[in-house]
């Protein structure tokens, strides 16, 4: 077993752990953390694939770097994941400030409110 395979297995385990946390942890912040765990697992798996794909480079004798395409995509994905985390965290903080709760469980459908197009 090589280190790369080991990392691949680690990525699989991270996805599983993150899924469990995202589903079973009641606190929304914990769900956000769990989402980041899944995300890092997916990125890590992509990194493993990049490293495996670098084999052709090693054969051609041009270096030991991995396949740059997955690496570039992981960078893109990391930035997107950060933006997602930022929105989620801000939403959660606002929710906690306005309704004093930090969880999603036990939501009821929105109570009858004078909705409609409220104009400023």
């Amino acid at each position: 077993m090589s280190g790369t395979t080991l990392f691949g297995l680690c990525a699989a385990a991270l996805v599983g752990l993150g899924l469990y946390g995202l589903i079973c942890q009641p606190g929304a912040l914990r769900k956000i953390l769990a989402f980041n765990l899944i995300g890092s697992g997916v990125f890590l798996l992509f990194g493993v694939i990049a490293q495996r794909g670098g084999g052709v480079l090693a054969l051609a004798g041009t270096g030991a770097d991995g396949d740059p395409v997955p690496q570039a995509l992981v960078i893109t994905g990391l930035v997107v994941a950060f933006a997602a985390t930022a929105i989620a965290v801000t939403l959660l903080v606002r929710l906690a400030e306005t309704s004093a709760r930090g969880t999603l469980e036990g939501d009821e459908p929105a109570p009858p409110a004078p909705a409609g197009e409220r104009r400023p």
Partner: protein, 105 residues
């Protein structure tokens, strides 16, 4: 030489990882932060060792980034500490309302 450097990296990682027990045990959040801080420095050391051992280029720049941002956990900690103290005071009314709402339906 490579084997030695890798071994040293593993050793340093192992020792600072022992320090992670502080993350588990606490008792305070500051102690958890200390453990993360130690892991930060140890991680930089292990990173440099790994980089030199395996000949991956530009590792010192990754180390620079880590060292630059190492302080940020603690910055978040101290600023967060100030916030945690003010939040209940500002929202105490809402807090009781939330407690009533959190009963199982």
């Amino acid at each position: 030489m490579t084997a030695f450097l890798l071994g040293a990296a593993a050793f340093i990682l192992g020792t600072v990882a022992l320090g992670l027990v502080r993350i588990l045990r606490g008792p305070g959040n500051a102690d958890r932060m200390l453990a993360a801080q130690l892991l930060g420095t140890g991680g930089v050391a292990a990173l440099l060792l790994l980089g030199v051992a395996t000949g991956v280029g530009s590792v010192s720049e990754v180390g620079l980034l880590l060292a630059l941002l190492a302080a940020f956990g603690s910055v978040a900690f101290v600023t967060g500490a100030g916030r945690a103290s003010e939040a209940p005071a500002a929202d105490s009314a809402a807090g009781t309302q939330g407690a009533a709402r959190s009963e199982p339906e």
